[in-house]
Amino acid sequence: MDSRRGSRFVIDPKIRQVGFVPAGCESENPNASSAVAAIANVDVNPTSDSPSPVMIPPRLADPLPRAAPLPVPSPPPRKHTSVEIPLQGSYNPTDSVLGTSPPFSPASNGRYAGVPSSEGPDLSPSFVSRASSAMEGMSLREDHLGSPSASRFATVGEYAMFKQQQPQQPATAVTKVYASSLPQEPVQSFAPVGKEDSSKPLKERTTKAERRAKQEADREAKRIAKESAGAKVVEGEARASSNVVGKASRAQSQKKDSASEKRLSAVEKASEKEKKKEIPAPRMQFDDQSRVAKAKKRALIEQTETKHRVELFRHLPQFVYGAQLPSLEAKFFHDDAMHPHPAVYQVGLQYLTGDITGGNARCIAMLSAFKELIKDYCTPRERTLIRDLTARVNNNVSFLTTCRPLCISMGNAIRFLKTRIAKLQLTLSESDAKSLIIAEIDRFMQEKINYADNEITKLAVTKIKDGDVILTYGSSCVVETIILHAFSLGKKFRVVIVDSRPKLEGKGLLRRLLGRGISCTYSHINAVTYIIQEVNKVFLGASSILSNGTVYSRVGSASVAMVANAFHVPVMICCETYKFHERVQLDSICFNELDALVKIPGRKGLSELEGWSQSSHLKLLNLMYDVMPADYVSMIITELGMVPPTSVPVILREYRKDPIL
């Protein structure tokens, strides 16, 4: 048992690819000899060095065996392994897959966890090199620990996100996560005082060439797996790595590949092409002049760029506020081919003026407008419905984007709609096709938004207990319904609403909650460190959750979560799964929304800020969103259950195999 656990640790990032690890698979092999245990313990310890944030609960269950390694001085067991390893190194790999030698096979096989079956036949030089390196002694295991795990994953796009995470997160990240769930013992057991220095010399002994050989072996194996798995896997990967970072890493890996072994098979080339097709066009970068000019030609609204742009945010649209609405209104009755559908127009106006805010409300408004559009749609002659309707939807979407940049959840909804349209059967009559799509949209709204909200409310309410003090930031409609529901259940709790300028959205929430008779405290975000002391739960909404567990939310949420984390207050994010996105974002600069600072709340008669957008010495910047690292998030409450942030990619993968159901 211990040995298995130990090996798990070594290959940890690979398991994370799989996601939820059922508790059963760990206790598969309970008969472990003491000698093996000792070896395994050596294996266990280095994991504390491995920078990956680990959070697979079952391992935490029994702190005793892990506490055991502490007294064990390293040298003798290490010798022991060095004797054993050559045996293992020369074994037939297929045997190890079958698990004939339980204590060791996982350790050696771990690197190939993703490609168990294809490993057997392959007797490429890389295997020889591995065996030889093993012969040299002690290098096999230590290679696992020593070689920077990041480099091993660089090949596959999906790992790109972990790759990013790993260098960022220090070893303490591991202990931190544990600390929240299991107070003290595991943390102690994880602090390897004596082990550290024992493993360090090992690290140095592997030469660069050896590590290189290992890497290539891995890559080779993966390539074979890819080929065998076929196009589906490729698709999935492509989807998973649709972000820019993923793309970059793939390009990098390609370069390496071609340098080392210049035999990219035809199959792979084809799959590459397919991948490219799958990758959505990169987001519009507003510092790309030619594309901006092109977009301007298409746009219905005249947008003038502000004179005083903030250089760092040149890639985001920075337009003069106030010029858009009149120009849009003036064109209200105009008609040309580009004119959006009235319902869409209406929604666009509402976005522009801020009548509709909030991810869910905006998404529902948009979908309802598209429903109208489809209802009124009739295919022009000599056109096919699928293509023409897609083009029409695209037009309308770009209109909405000019009104206000779409949020990520809306992007998901649009993607859903478009795939539905694209998947229509050609044989369907027009009215059938239309009613089918409308039904699909209805279903999306019901299932993904309404039911999801209900489910989230039900789940989250169980987390509210009598005497709780709940903190929320800004105004999230899900959090609001949770609070109202909990209140209607007769729970006794208090709410702290933290708010921030310039929008002061929390005021509306405060008013509504007070209207129901819930006792509230209202504070601005600068007092959050003070007010957090009396709080014991934090509920936040989210605009989107990215696949590295990052929460993309209204600006200020990240600071609230950080403070809460520092004060050991659990942070719970309430978010529907349709808002999840495969993208990875590490900062709030590369993608964000800039809001015009038009109405600044304040006392009447303060004229200092009048016309400040005209001042040439002043550049205004107002980010709408920020990015909350997964560390601060204790739990994400979705309609599928309450999950840790590390499970986001799993949900993305498992529930969107069929592109966004």
Binding site: P326, L328, E329, A330, K331, F332, F333, H334, D335, H339, P342, Y345, Q346, L349, Q350, T353, D355, I356, T357, G358, N360, A361, I364, A365, S368, M445, I449, N450, D453, C477, V478, E480, T481, G508, R511, R512, G515
Partner: protein, 453 residues
């Protein structure tokens, strides 16, 4: 066409207005009154055309008038607009006019515009506001023009002012100036104003304005409009009854249920079943309601920007004022004329005598002739007028084919078609009816032929 955005236009061209008594007659209905030498109705039609609203239903009161207007429109706009004209009885109210065309309305939103409105407000903006708010009704409100923009030359302006002040409409707005919460037209205000408690409760605060004017441009939601018109046959006027009625009933889910036919004083009670914060909904509630098509009615206001021009021609004074504005800087762009260097509009075929001057902010129509030593200031002179020598015209409107003999002085007056001012006539603040022959000195009088009836 406006069809694309689901809009339909009803233009209320009116008939022979009583307020403009000596100026209008059966021969010259209000809609065809020359304003800056163009018929009044053309301003509205051109505005609609520029907004790309090209199919218009024109409602005219009175058979004869309808005939004239139809003839004029088909002559002037035949190729550009598709106009459908409907005739109602002469004494019909504005709501009756709407009722007459109710069966022809098919679009989702109905834009009702009065034919006497002269403005440069983009209609798209009003329609956009209406759509954005999902309102059941949107009204155009305009800040009250200070009466008598003419530089106080006439004594009656003060009187007029006082009169207007006492007869202002009372308009209630919510704090954000977006929703209409109350409206009572001047004619119906007694000493008390009744404001429903539920509305005050829903909006939190109600501002009552008397410095705003309802400018007779409305956007209605068709279903609600038809429902109300059908359900309440007592409603005769849009401004005085229909709009206040809609505003009063805006918190109810259904406009006609349990509504007694409107009584004369309009003071019936509505039950208060409305949740206090019905208008302040969380996004989720909104979202859930979207499916069920939230049926609560909202009445919105579009308040005209200060820099836009907006005026109505509904009295003699306003006719003179608007004429001056149209000739002057404020609204000359509405006419489409070229402005000369000396800031006036003089038709090339008109002839000026020796030492005659036409000041800035003046208009001189086609084929008009002036004698020597005349001076025209801030006035509009129509087509084919013959003006003798030594005539002074100030702050006045002279229509077509008017003959003014030598030595006349005209101040602040309106002189209608074919009138004849004999030698040395002095007019101050007078209205001269069509084909009337004036002699002597007059001040503040309406001079017109007595009609047979």
């Amino acid at each position: 066409m406006g069809q694309q955005m689901n809009f339909q236009v009803v233009l209320l061209a009116g008939g022979v207005s009583k307020q403009l008594f000596p100026l209008v007659s059966k021969e010259l209905p209000k809609a065809l009154l020359p304003l800056g030498n163009k018929p009044l109705l053309s301003y509205t039609l051109e505005q609609l055309e520029s907004s790309n609203l090209k199919s218009i239903i024109v409602v005219v009161a009175g058979e004869d008038v309808a005939e004239q207007i139809r003839a004029w429109i088909s002559g002037a706009y035949d190729d550009r607009l598709s106009v459908e004209s409907v005739t109602v009885a002469e004494d019909a109210g504005t709501a009756d006019a709407l009722r007459a065309v109710a069966s022809r309305l098919t679009a989702e939103h109905i834009l009702v515009i009065s034919g006497d409105l002269v403005c440069d407000i983009p209609l798209g903006a009003i329609a956009a506001t209406h759509c954005r708010k999902k309102a059941s009704m949107t009204a155009l409100l305009c800040a009250l023009q200070v009466a008598g923009t003419s530089d106080g030359s006439s004594g009656s302006t003060g009187k007029e002012k006082a009169k207007q002040q006492s007869s202002n409409d009372v308009i209630g707005l919510d704090p954000s100036h977006e929703f209409l919460t109350f409206m009572a037209s001047a004619a119906r205000i007694d000493k008390q104003l009744q404001i429903q408690r539920s509305i005050v409760r829903a909006f939190g605060r109600v501002e009552l304005h008397t410095d705003l004017v309802d400018d007779h441009l409305y956007v209605f939601k068709r279903t609600i409009l038809q429902e109300v018109l059908e359900g309440c046959p007592g409603i005769r006027s849009i401004k005085e009854e229909l709009v206040p009625y809609l505003i009063r009933s805006q918190l109810r889910s259904n406009p006609t249920i349990q509504s007694k036919p409107l009584t004369e004083n309009g003071g019936e009670q509505f039950e208060r079943k409305i949740a206090p914060n019905q208008l302040v909904k969380s996004p989720l509630e909104q979202a859930s309601l979207l499916g069920a098509q939230a049926n609560n009615m909202k009445c919105c206001a579009y308040i005209v920007n200060k820099d836009r021009y907006c005026a109505r021609v509904n009295s003699v004074q306003s006719f003179i004022d608007v004429n001056q504005d149209v000739a002057g800087e404020r609204a000359v762009h509405l006419t489409g004329y070229d402005i000369s260097r000396s800031n006036n509009v003089i038709h090339p075929t008109s002839k000026l005598g020796y030492k005659s001057t036409v000041g800035p902010h003046c208009m001189l129509g086609e084929g008009s002739e002036m004698g020597d030593k005349c001076s025209i200031k801030r006035s509009v002179v129509g087509r084919h007028c013959r003006i003798g020598s030594g005539v002074k015209i100030m702050n006045s409107v002279v229509m077509d084919h008017v003959t003014i003999d030598d030595g006349c002085i005209v101040q602040g007056s309106v002189i209608c078609n074919n009138a004849h001012l004999q030698e040395r006539v002095t007019l101050k603040d007078c209205q001269v009816g069509a084909a009337y022959i004036v002699s002597g000195e007059h001040q503040g009088e309406a001079l017109a032929k007595r009609d047979k009836n």
